[in-house]
């Protein structure tokens, strides 16, 4: 049974099922390809290991870490976080629009995601340039080694994210290529960049 509030989801094989809303029992589905979720968990665990090594190292010389952390620009960190959250919002809208076959809206939101990603990229490069300009480089001390390592690894994921988003745009561009599963897979990767940054921001900029 479906209601007016229900949303239909076009599955790759062309089947349409009700997934949410009203009195109907939501049908459960894995967003995107399951392989991408395996990759997400792998990346999440790898970053958990990085974060653990960072905190253990930090607890060995807390004064050094706090002294160096004070040189980071907290407001830039907040700005970058807000920008990436906006990009995640846009890609989530893109997925939803594609599901409803509003492909123009999906494409617009995919481009908006690329725009926010590019703003993050420029902001991060400018932040690095400012820090290097002040003499804080990878070899300055242990904190800055971790800072550049974590942000650079994340930056590489961001660059891969641009390629992934380009795939989503390519899919959305032509009716002959549109695959909801591929678009959801691309979005899942992009959200991973976002949630990893949320943790990096807390550990590098906020914690004491």
């Amino acid at each position: 049974m479906t209601t007016g509030a229900d949303t239909e989801r076009l599955f790759p094989e062309g089947e349409i099922r009700t997934v949410s809303g009203g009195a109907a029992q939501p049908a459960r589905f894995v967003p995107g390809q399951p392989d991408m979720w395996v990759f997400v968990f792998f990346e999440a665990l790898v970053f958990t290991a990085y974060f653990t090594v960072y905190i253990v190292s930090r607890s060995r010389s807390p004064d050094l870490f706090l002294k160096s952390q004070a040189h980071l620009n907290l407001r830039v960190g907040v700005f970058n976080t807000l920008v990436l959250l906006a990009s995640s919002w846009a890609v989530a809208r893109s997925v939803q629009a594609a599901r409803e076959r509003s492909f123009r809206s999906a494409l617009t939101n995919a481009f908006l995601t690329l725009f926010f990603g590019f703003v993050f990229l420029v902001s991060k490069v400018l932040e690095w340039a400012a820090e290097i300009g002040q003499g804080f480089t990878f070899t300055t001390d242990e904190f800055f080694s971790f800072y550049y390592f974590l942000t650079a690894i994340h930056f590489i994921h961001l660059l891969i994210g641009f390629i992934v988003l380009t795939v989503a745009v390519y899919q959305l561009w032509s009716p002959a290529r549109r695959s909801q599963e591929v678009i959801e897979t691309c979005a899942t990767y992009w959200h991973t960049i976002d949630f990893l940054w949320v943790l990096i921001f807390a550990l590098l900029y906020v914690m004491r």
Binding site: P31, R75, L85, A92, V95, L199, Y205
Partner: protein, 95 residues
């Protein structure tokens, strides 16, 4: 786009942004040229981050519609990560 979903996504984004601003507030407490160790600030920063990540999982990544196994695995990772990070930090403070 479905107005209900559009509103939901907007509210999620606003909540996540508000939590980020809250983290700015937390980080600004007693922030001077020389930072000092602070268990409350660190704990709240990590917990706020984990809550934000769970919201991203559930709402943006649509884990709320996913099979139970995926829901449980994402929650398990959050619990393990939170326990590890807070545990290592607190153990380091006590040492």
């Amino acid at each position: 786009m479905n107005a209900r979903f559009e509103k939901r996504l907007l509210v999620v984004w606003l909540v996540l942004s508000a939590m980020t601003i809250a983290q700015l507030g937390v980080a600004s407490v007693d922030r001077q040229a020389a930072l000092t160790p602070n268990v409350e600030i660190t704990s709240s920063a990590i917990l706020l981050a984990l809550i934000k990540v769970r919201i991203i999982f559930r709402q943006f990544m649509e884990v709320r519609h996913a099979p139970v196994l995926l829901c449980r695995l994402t929650d398990l990772w959050l619990v393990v990560t939170g326990a590890t990070l807070l545990g290592c930090y607190l153990a380091g403070r006590l040492a």
